[in-house]
Amino acid sequence: MNHVRSLMRPAGRRAAAVLLAAAALYAVPYSTLRLPGVFDGPLDSPGVLQLLAVCLLFAGLALSYDLLFGHTGIMSFGHGLFVTGGMYVTTILVNHAGYGLVPAALAGLGVGLAAALVLGSVALRVDGIGFAMVTLAFGQAVSLLVVSGSPALTGGEQGQTLNAGAVPAALSGVRNTANLYWLALGYLAVCAAVLWWLTTSVPGRVMRAVKENERRVEVLGLNPYLFKLLAFVVAGLLATGGGVVYLLLLGGATPVVAGSDFTLGLLVMVVLGGAGRRWGVVAGAVLYAYADQSLTRLSGSASVAALPGALRGPLQQPLFLLGVCFVAVVFFLPGGLATLPARLRASKTRVGHGVRTRNGRRAQRAGSRHSGLSADASATQPRSPIRRSAPQAGPNVLPGHNAASSTGAAEEGVTPHG
């Protein structure tokens, strides 16, 4: 019964859920709610708001990365260079050229757009793994440029504080953390809106199709290169904007965003939450950012310090815990956290009826994840749009209605061209 109801869940209810979530997030700085164990102080205290703002910013960045990885099926290891670009171009123009914040940020976005066009058109000439390596090399080049290129401009390994005079009063100072929080929330909203708009548009459907089977898109007479470039440029531009927001949150530029770990972090967030599933990606990013920040804090706490050395050391390394969790999720939860409700329901149903299996669902997911890297795999993988889009998978497919229905739409949107 339950599954019939949620199968027919109208678009209006989904919109209502989004609005409700947005309203709740908007109202957080007005709340004095305390969540002991989760946050140190009440929700409206600057420390908690700052932590939440970083979480929201990473959710937006992860969505922009997911446009590449989850929706178009290309794995970039250079996403951080756009964040770096937005952050550093803005800082340098403000600090060294005397620009105002807004013109500097716009110039940063312009540089990000140009960089995305150039790098994308070069790197997309190779597929899969080659693309991953080329973008990694580009990211490394930018990282070196920032860290040791010209320390007078970039501040080297220390980074650089943004000239306080250029920041509007409403965005500086501890008392105005709420404004920064809303800025980060606005960034997340923009990313979510762009992603929603793009993935439901015709080019977005072709991107989905490129992910599922690039060769078939070519056979249909479309040029996958152009659609991949579009995804790369849009994602790059969003990430550049994220760099500007991050700059304001931190009050300065930091070379951390240029490191390869930063981009790998975005990949981990997306996979953790569930590639190609919006709520999943947001949840994965928020969890990762929260864990990353609070594990660092936790490691200094008395309870950890009391542990024996062999246990204490690894627990003080957020990357160790995150890396291990990531491997565990890849292993035991393919499809990420977004599939968790479906799995729970499936196991419940199976107990109840004794006949339903989730194997069909599993095989289907595994199949759809082949295509990202190996053209051979996608060529040999038999694909049936009918089986994918039909709701016959029953209760198991339901909580993934977003992904399932948009995949179906992608196939339908492309097929008529043939």
Partner: protein, 289 residues
């Protein structure tokens, strides 16, 4: 003239390190289509294992003991990774890569937890710490050790691949994995073997990187890995001689560009990569695209 020789020797020393890391990566990718992001972690583990031995036993004896320990540590970690992480995920190629990404994050963090983030200094035996005079250029002895190790590995791998049955299986697997499996050969054993071999080379690279730099830190392997990736792409995946030539090219270009202007070296490698990719109309295994 002496500057030219010094730059060449330094570039080739660096190239030797790149080759040690990239040869394993290239074989693994060629045979299994897995891009191993944990390879840098194998390098780091080999480096720390060697450092620990040399820290307890001083001098040449310590170094002689550190060598097999580094190789064994790299090989064991790689074999374990293949058996425990890669093998269960054969049906999910993308997840194999993602799992190695997770390992690549976790292992250096674990090393940092145990040995701290600060670099640990290598104390070299006296005969290794000096320099050798070549046509008026004073070249650190360690560079020759690096080059010799890389050449030895290249020779040994060539022999292994062309003269033994195991090598035959690996070469055939690089060409067509399904066909080899269809002929009744247990390809999975070759997978574990190639992983262990790559890990052994990585462990050796960890030791030599420590000698080259005079110190080790947890992130060393990862930074080496990025250039090794470039070498693998340039040298065409699965080709050993291609990897060796590409390693030499990258090392030399980097050193000579660095001489012209500091920091230009790393940027020039990226430009080299972009240029080759744009001009070469073939896929990464060298087949016509």
């Amino acid at each position: 003239m002496s500057t030219l020789i010094l730059l060449t020797a330094t570039g080739l020393g660096l190239a030797a390190l790149y080759f040690l890391v990239a040869s394993g990566l290239s074989l693994i990718f060629g045979l299994m289509d897995v891009l191993n992001f944990a390879h840098g972690a194998f390098v780091a583990v080999g480096g720390y294992a060697a450092w620990t031995v040399a820290d307890h036993v001083a001098g040449t004896l310590g170094l002689a003991l550190a060598l097999p320990v580094a190789v064994a540590a790299g090989a064991a970690l790689a074999a374990l990774t293949e058996l425990l992480i890669i093998r269960p995920l054969y049906a999910r190629p993308l997840d194999q890569v993602l799992a190695t990404v997770g390992l690549g994050l976790a292992i250096p963090a674990l090393l940092q937890a145990v040995w701290g983030a600060d670099p640990r200094t290598w104390t070299l035996p006296a005969w290794l710490a000096g320099t050798l005079d070549v046509l008026g250029a004073r070249i650190p002895t360690v560079r020759f050790v690096l080059i010799a190790a890389a050449l030895a590995l290249l020779g040994a791998l060539q022999l292994l691949l062309t003269r033994t049955r195991a090598g035959l299986i690996v070469r055939a697997g690089v060409e067509n994995r399904e066909m080899v499996a269809a002929l009744g050969v247990d390809v999975h054993r070759a997978f574990t073997g190639v992983f262990a071999l790559g890990g052994a080379a990585a462990g050796l690279a960890g030791l030599l990187d420590g000698l080259y730099q005079g110190s080790i830190s947890p992130g060393d392997g990862t930074s080496l890995l990025i250039f090794a990736f470039v070498v693998v792409v340039l040298g065409r995946m699965g080709s050993l001689t291609g990897t060796a030539v590409a390693a030499a090219a990258v090392g030399l270009v980097q050193q000579f560009a660095n001489y012209l202007s500091a920091d230009l070296g790393d940027e020039s490698v990226v430009i080299l990569l972009a240029a080759v990719l744009l001009l070469r109309r073939r896929d990464l295994k060298g087949r016509p695209a």
